[in-house]
Symmetry: C2
Subunit: 234 residues, 2 copies
């Protein structure tokens, strides 16, 4: 009985959030800001990947990061140390970001204002904002943040079977970044199998293999992201 009750409540929350996310996406279009939602398990290396990406995007895109966590500010501190504009969002115990929480972060960056998500006149122009979602493969997949692009990271140590176990995350993602490929020799991870598993969930998913540590694949990833931003800005 309790289980059914939870699902009903969640459904109404989902519907409200979906509408709110559409409003936010329209506001972002007006402001000319591309929002990328980056999701993964805890510890898959989202922040380390963004630090590596920062070097590649320098001089090509103006961008900022919103670091969402339940607690701590270690991620935002790492980004700021690397010269990337960054704000830390605390979710108040929540396991995901919804559109309104994302809106609060964007307002904090001075990009949009008010309930109508109007662009802030005269604000610093940003091409791209990356939302680093809470480390979780389940709940973030259920809540549309208003992002223009959903990206998930799967690190090699997690195993190639994750698309079998967390279907929604892979169904809704546009890009799958397979990360930490420098440690492939030490883990039983089949690169062909992970692609097949991901495509089974989403035939349109774009899979890329990278190592933020060695830099392998990072140029290609930066090009891919810039292309998506420019297409959206046209």
């Amino acid at each position: 009985m309790e289980e059914i009750k939870i699902i009903e409540l969640k459904q109404s929350v989902f519907e409200d959030n979906d509408k709110d996310a559409e409003r936010l996406r329209a506001g972002l279009k007006d402001a000319g800001v591309f929002l990328m939602n980056l999701m993964s398990s805890p510890g898959s290396g989202k922040t380390t990947l963004l630090l590596s990406l920062a070097e590649k995007l320098a001089g090509r895109l103006d961008w900022a990061v919103m670091e969402a966590d339940i607690d701590s500010d270690v991620d935002a501190a790492r980004m700021i140390d690397a010269g990337v504009r960054s704000v830390q969002l605390h979710t108040g115990g929540m396991c995901h970001l919804d559109a309104d929480m994302t809106r609060q972060g964007l307002a904090e960056l001075g990009l949009i204002q008010g309930e109508a998500d109007r662009p802030v006149a005269g604000c610093e122009k940003l091409d791209l904002v990356v939302l680093e979602n809470v480390g979780n493969l389940v709940c973030p997949a259920e809540f549309d943040t208003g992002a223009c692009l959903d990206v998930t990271i799967l690190s090699v140590p997690e195993g190639d079977d994750k698309p079998l176990k967390y279907p929604l995350m892979y169904e809704k993602c546009d890009i799958l970044i397979v990360s930490k490929i420098d440690v492939l020799p030490y883990f039983d991870f089949d690169t062909e199998k992970v692609v097949a598993n991901a495509l089974m969930r989403n035939p349109k998913i774009d899979v890329i293999f990278v190592s933020a540590k060695t830099g392998e694949g990072m140029d290609e990833l930066a090009v891919k992201i810039e292309k998506r931003v420019r297409e959206w800005q046209e």
Copy 2:
């Protein structure tokens, strides 16, 4: 506004679940079954650890595993292949197990019956049931499953900062298993720092370092679990 609404709904769900978990725990005591709730991020190696543990527990404890996942039956299949009694629980998209979902698994194993959680007369006696929870560091920490022991795994590739970011998981856990220590040379992971971070969240947490691959620490872990089961059975 929506955020506040969600939290209120969750609180009433938590209270109902807490009472239900206490009922289930009392039923398990009558049935003489020790329930261990095993939590972690996706891909931290819960199933691999249980396979290694199976060798160590053989002949010492009669036990079974309940594998909870949103989808797939790969984990239960791996356990059964290794000769461990196992059932696969599908959560219907839910990101965690609550007491009632746990009860359904225990009923499936033929250990308890009815809403009063009565022991099943003449059923095969089990000392230990391990509930392998959904891979998630957030939501499973919020829901009491009725377990007698809460254990979390943190694998080396995830990083030593996880207790900073997922406070509740570490606050509520009795044992922290730091796993995949065979790959310590390839990751920037500080074993002293992880212990300090975990103790900051929970001064009573019992930390153990293991590798299911090399077997290091697995004997000690098996002894630790058997000790907890026997103390509880007395």
